[in-house]
Symmetry: C2
Subunit: 352 residues, 2 copies
DNA sequence: CTGTTAGCGCCTTCAT
DNA sequence: ATGAAGGCGCTAACAG
């Protein structure tokens, strides 16, 4: 019986064994497997036959050891079950698979410590690149150790959220503009007291809140600290709870602006439970479209962003960076790609 | 300037460099990094200091080379953007991260050839284990080469879908029972002509269709081939299209049974576009709950499965298998874990 | 307690 | 066209 490996109970074939069986050198087998150098047709066929027979599969670990490339990239997100992220991951996977890369995915639960741990592990696993939706605060300043993790020692592309002290490429949405548009629409329709429920306090949410405040002040409305809430993990549950809290403590609120899909879902559930009708009792504009928003009763107006494009561009740019590093270049150019939002007007926002 | 690596443009520190700087041997550094063997307190501290200074991170590739373990497991699914899968992946990641593993994720687009390619790559990358929602047909018989990929050469747990010729652990839902329950409910309420829209033709969908047929025959209703459709990739678009097709070609249909969440969403959109009311014009029971189903107008009745549990159990069992293999054992016991469905009665199914 | 050494599986000059 | 040999970074067995 074939000797099995102690650690795993199974036995992988090696190039050496193929070489022995085929009666050639390891180098020759390497040549036919890797398709480099030159081998005579006869030798090639002999070796190829043995490879097939033995079901030999090259050991990518050993290859990586030599090549310094693992052909895998790491993706770190707060919550892979959130459609916003899973759609981005879908797009990333699609693009990098084309280029022969695999994707290691880490879920942090929007916990900074888990994020750092993931970064360390991915570093030690020598991923060729990193795509990260960080949960770090936008004004975070790093010490030396963290700098290596966050500042592009490994080719890195940030998505959705940025850290201002970090000068790496970031693919994001025009959060400020999107929020400004929505709130302006609310105001145009007569709303002055607009409740707003943000996700985790990253640059993304800050910028949306900034857009909200700017629209308010541009229309001469005073910002009221009482009308805003920030989430810990941006869950449906939080959206529900904050909606109720906001509405119960501030009877003057006539419009609600939940800043992401999960929170918006929570808001819809809360309003339903409170027997509040949209838009007769309360107006609503959501963020991040979902398939049933258009056929909801009433259809929900939305600020939307292009998740496919965020994922695709992040992957595309990361591959470029990886490639340029291999060539010893350093990429220049704009470090921030900001995608426009779309305002889908439906029927959840009424004139008052 | 520090010599940079040709392939990547950056330089990783090695154990050798740490050793030189600290004035000790590589073995000693290895001992303090790995925390094995014994080092004097004094040496330990000296080396530790250098490690911190240099920001040394052990190379997991080289470690894997020795240990034969990559501490990563591969997950293969048809569509990571489908909430059913992203929730499962979430649960898997959660469980395996606890055990110090990472997750490589492959999206196949429900394409068998991409699935096989992924399997080959994951094999070559020497993942320690595999969790797979296969798109292979349930009655697939493998040749020798494919057998190595599918039949547990690498510890494997199947999720959601099974291949009968493969004797590996499978964590799945009681598809037959769930469908039987739903269809029985339809029939009890007077429906005889029930349209059914299945996902990709895997064991899962077969079993749901079997449940549908059994409920029909148990109640003396003849199965009508015209009332059933199978998807290619199980998308919202297909759900929409098949719903329209089914209803236009078969005016006698009074109830619809879309067999997964995406298809159900498509059905809802189609009915909306056709101006058909639920349940007055058409009754509906969906499969896989979603947060807004309960507050839809009307609330949608659902057959649901526990995605968290599928993911958790698959991860848990896989870790057990990996562990047992390391100890040279072979796990015995039941090869199939079948989770019960839940029937959530809401208001989308009317008596006729 | 610490250093030396021999691989892990592959790739890659350098000879032949 | 093919083979021999060294080394990627780490671990572990064996000396000292």
């Amino acid at each position: 019986m074939k000797k099995t490996d102690e650690a795993t109970g199974r036995k992988e074939n090696t190039i050496k064994e193929v070489a022995e069986r085929a009666g050639v050198s390891q180098a020759t087998v390497g040549r036919v497997v890797g398709g480099y150098g030159s081998v005579s047709k006869k030798t090639y066929e002999k070796v190829y036959k043995v490879i097939k027979e033995m079901g030999y599969v090259p050991n990518a670990i050993a290859q990586s050891m030599k090549s310094k490339s693992t052909k895998t990239i790491g993706v770190i997100v707060g919550n892979i079950a959130n459609p916003f992220f899973s759609e981005i991951v879908y797009a990333i996977e699609n693009r990098i698979a084309e280029a022969g890369f695999n994707l290691i995915i880490s879920n942090t639960g929007e916990d900074v410590r888990r994020e750092i741990l993931s970064l360390e592990i991915l570093h030690s696993k020598r991923v060729d690149g990193l795509i990260i939706a960080t949960t770090q605060l936008s004004n975070k300043i790093f010490n030396e150790v963290e700098k290596k993790l966050y500042c592009g020692f490994i080719p890195t592309v940030y998505i959705d959220r940025e850290i201002f002290s970090v000068n790496e490429l970031c693919v994001k949405t025009d959060n400020f503009g999107g929020a400004y548009d929505a709130v302006s629409d609310f105001i145009r329709k007569g709303h002055k007291n607009i409740g707003i429920i943000a996700g985790v306090p990253t640059s993304t949410m800050e910028q949306r809140v900034d857009g909200y405040r700017k629209a308010l002040s541009d229309h001469g409305i005073k910002f009221n600290e009482e009308f805003i809430r920030f989430s810990k993990i941006a869950s449906i549950e939080e959206g529900k709870q904050f909606t109720k809290e906001l509405l119960q403590k501030n009877k003057e609120i006539t419009a609600l602006f939940p800043l992401n899909n999960l929170i918006c879902t929570g808001t819809l559930i809360a309003l339903n439970e409170m027997n509040l009708r949209i838009p007769s009792n309360i107006s609503l504009i959501g963020w991040d479209d979902f398939p049933l928003a258009a056929i909801n009763n009433p259809p929900i107006s939305m600020i939307t962003q292009d998740t496919e494009k965020i994922g695709f561009l992040a992957a595309e740019k990361l591959l470029e960076i990886i490639n340029s590093k291999e060539c010893g270049n350093d990429l220049f150019g704009e470090k921030r790609i900001t995608l426009k939002t779309h305002f889908i007007h439906r029927e959840s926002c009424a004139k008052i």
